[in-house]
């Protein structure tokens, strides 16, 4: 039974956080920050599956976020799709691309995935920057309205734009967390964690290591893609930065900072790294410096990531 409680406890904590924090918002602006945290948390949950469960590192996941984001801008215009369907299309394209990119690479051991995904991310970013006619280039492109807020209004639920995106992203995050937690305890998730523990032993129990790695890669690409779509739809605008190298690094850093092994840790990491730069703006040009220092300290003293380390300390004190 303890497994069940980890899952339901995580979902409960998340749900309560999403529901209760707005009461402490000093202004409407914080709904935006909250929504951004949830979207980042969603992308990082995908990284948890890839890195935390399966032990593989990708440095190009922003590429999938870019595909998800631009799908919402381009598919409605050129294919006449509803933005919601565009999001699904983006996720499907990301999944197929992840499969094609991952298939040859994931047969190899070592850091080939990190290097190849790095290349993939840069490639996507270059295409988005240079195909001006299609993507608008570095200036970005407009994204149509999702339209769900209007539907809710017709049903009598009148939310401000900020409120709507806060709760919508929160719900999507909950869904993503639920799926990731399902996976953790499932046969597939066990196989992922097994190959993280020992690829040699995984082979001897019949796990097709290359195949399982590929599954994790595709799943995490879909998470990044959906997160990219949500950013685009919320801002009604998107620039190639969403697919940039820094964004990829940010995702991995959030996961590692919070604790790559746990979904709650990932959201925690996303929260801190989304908030910290806002808090550090007072430091002006030293912001990056302090940010780097904080990360180094965490990696040196709390190697499992913030949340697992804190929980361990608390538990240790209780015993």
């Amino acid at each position: 039974m303890p497994k069940l409680t980890v899952k339901s406890a995580t979902l409960l904590v998340l749900a309560v956080l999403i529901a209760v924090t707005p009461f402490f918002f000093p202004s409407g602006y914080y709904y935006r920050v909250g929504a951004l945290i949830f979207v980042n948390g969603l992308a990082v949950t995908g990284i948890v599956i890839l890195t935390g469960y399966a032990g593989q590192i990708s440095l190009g996941h922003a590429g999938f976020a870019g595909i998800g984001g631009y799908a919402c801008a381009l598919a409605p215009e050129y294919l006449g799709l509803h933005p919601a369907l565009a999001m699904v299309l983006g996720a499907a394209v990301s999944a197929v691309l992840a499969y094609l990119v991952g298939r040859p690479i994931l047969r190899l051991k070592g850091y080939y995935l990190a290097v190849a995904t790095l290349g993939f991310g840069i490639l996507v970013s270059m295409v988005l920057n240079n195909e001006r006619d299609l993507t608008g280039g570095p200036d970005g492109i407009a994204v149509p309205e999702l339209g769900l807020r209007g539907v809710l209004k017709d049903w009598g639920l009148n939310l401000s734009n900020g409120q709507f995106w806060y709760f919508f992203c929160g719900i999507v995050l909950l869904l993503g967390a639920w799926i990731a937690l399902n996976l953790y305890q499932s046969p597939t998730g066990r196989a992922l964690r097994a190959l993280h523990g020992s690829e040699v032993a995984s082979g001897t129990v019949g796990i097709d290591v290359a195949r399982v790695k590929l599954q994790a890669f595709v799943i995490s690409a879909v998470y990044a893609s959906v997160a990219g779509s949500l950013v685009a739809l919320q801002n009604k605008f998107i620039t190639p930065d969403v697919a940039g190298f820094m964004h990829s690094i940010e995702m991995v850093t959030m996961a590692v900072l919070g604790g790559a092994g746990s979904v709650l840790g990932a959201v925690f990491g996303a929260g801190i790294l989304t908030l910290l730069p806002q808090a550090l703006t007072v430091l002006a040009e030293y912001e990056q410096l302090v940010l780097g220092l904080v990360m180094m300290l965490v990696m040196i003293f709390l190697r499992e990531g913030l949340l697992p380390s804190i929980l361990r300390r608390l538990r240790g004190r209780g015993e």
Binding site: L183, T188, R190, G197, G203, V205, D208, V209
Partner: protein, 259 residues
């Protein structure tokens, strides 16, 4: 039908023949031990049979099918399982999860069912867990089920690895020094376990340094020295074989000289 047959297996590393022209067979229910001084090529032989190394020469047949150099996971699907001399435990998982991992081939289903926690996924996981608990009881680890695998003693990890290998219901089981680092009582327990598994019709190939154990439980012994088979036969024959005695005493003298 012969379950496992090894024909003229050989491999060289950088021009040095680590194993050369080794042949033998293992029948269902039989325990065949590979012995030999340190560095004789026992583990290399194991690694070739279990697909970790691709042999340079010879063939490995599993129930008549040529499986030479096949990836370990494919061999597992065909009923071959193994343990490792230097332990390959999933250190990031609990004892129970390690044992459940052994049920991978029986519990795996579609990824979508796992992502959405569908009843089929839960049922498979439940069945695997029940089977794993049973196996842990069989190797005396049922009370450690929820502990982190990394926290177990060496002897317990050895037994956990055997439990995980048994979870696959293998028809051929390769055990690389299952009793190494275990005390006398634990060794005897492992003894019984191996004999029991063999009695159920599994073909067992064993590498072990504990000669008393080898003599006690083996049906057939293959002796390696410098990568070549120098003798084989029933335990009593092998222990009287002058070449075998010379190989063992010879290396011990060499070992003294090295030290």
């Amino acid at each position: 039908m012969t379950l496992l047959s090894v024909e003229g297996l050989g491999i060289a590393f950088g021009g040095i023949k680590a194993v050369h022209d080794v042949s033998f067979r293992v029948e269902p229910g039989e325990i065949v031990s590979v012995i030999g001084p340190n560095g004789a090529g026992k583990t290399t032989l194991f690694n070739m049979i279990s697909g970790v190394y691709r042999p340079g020469a010879g063939r490995v047949l599993l129930e008549g099918e040529d499986v030479t150099g096949m990836a370990p996971f494919r061999l597992a699907q065909r009923g071959m399982s193994r343990t490792f001399q230097n332990l390959q435990i999933f250190q990031n998982m609990t004892v129970l999860e390690n044992a459940i991992a052994g049920f991978h081939l029986q519990e795996r289903g579609t990824v979508l069912a796992d992502l959405f926690n569908l009843p089929s996924s839960r049922r498979r996981a439940r069945q695997a867990e029940a089977g794993a608990r049973e196996l842990l009881a069989r190797v005396g680890l049922e009370r450690a089920a929820d502990r982190e695998a990394a926290s177990l003693s060496y002897g317990s990890l050895k037994r956990l690895e055997i439990a995980r290998a048994l979870a696959m219901r293998p028809r051929v089981l390769l055990l690389d020094e299952p009793a190494a680092g275990c005390n006398a009582v634990e060794t005897e327990e492992i003894d019984h376990l191996i004999a029991e598994v063999a009695a159920s019709g599994v073909a067992i190939l064993l590498v072990e340094h504990d000669m008393k154990m080898v003599m006690r439980i083996s049906n057939h012994i293959v002796v390696l020295d410098h990568g070549e088979k120098i003798a084989e036969g029933a335990p009593a024959e092998v222990s009287r074989n002058p070449a075998v005695i010379a190989a063992y005493l010879g290396t011990e003298e060499a070992a003294d000289a090295d030290g």
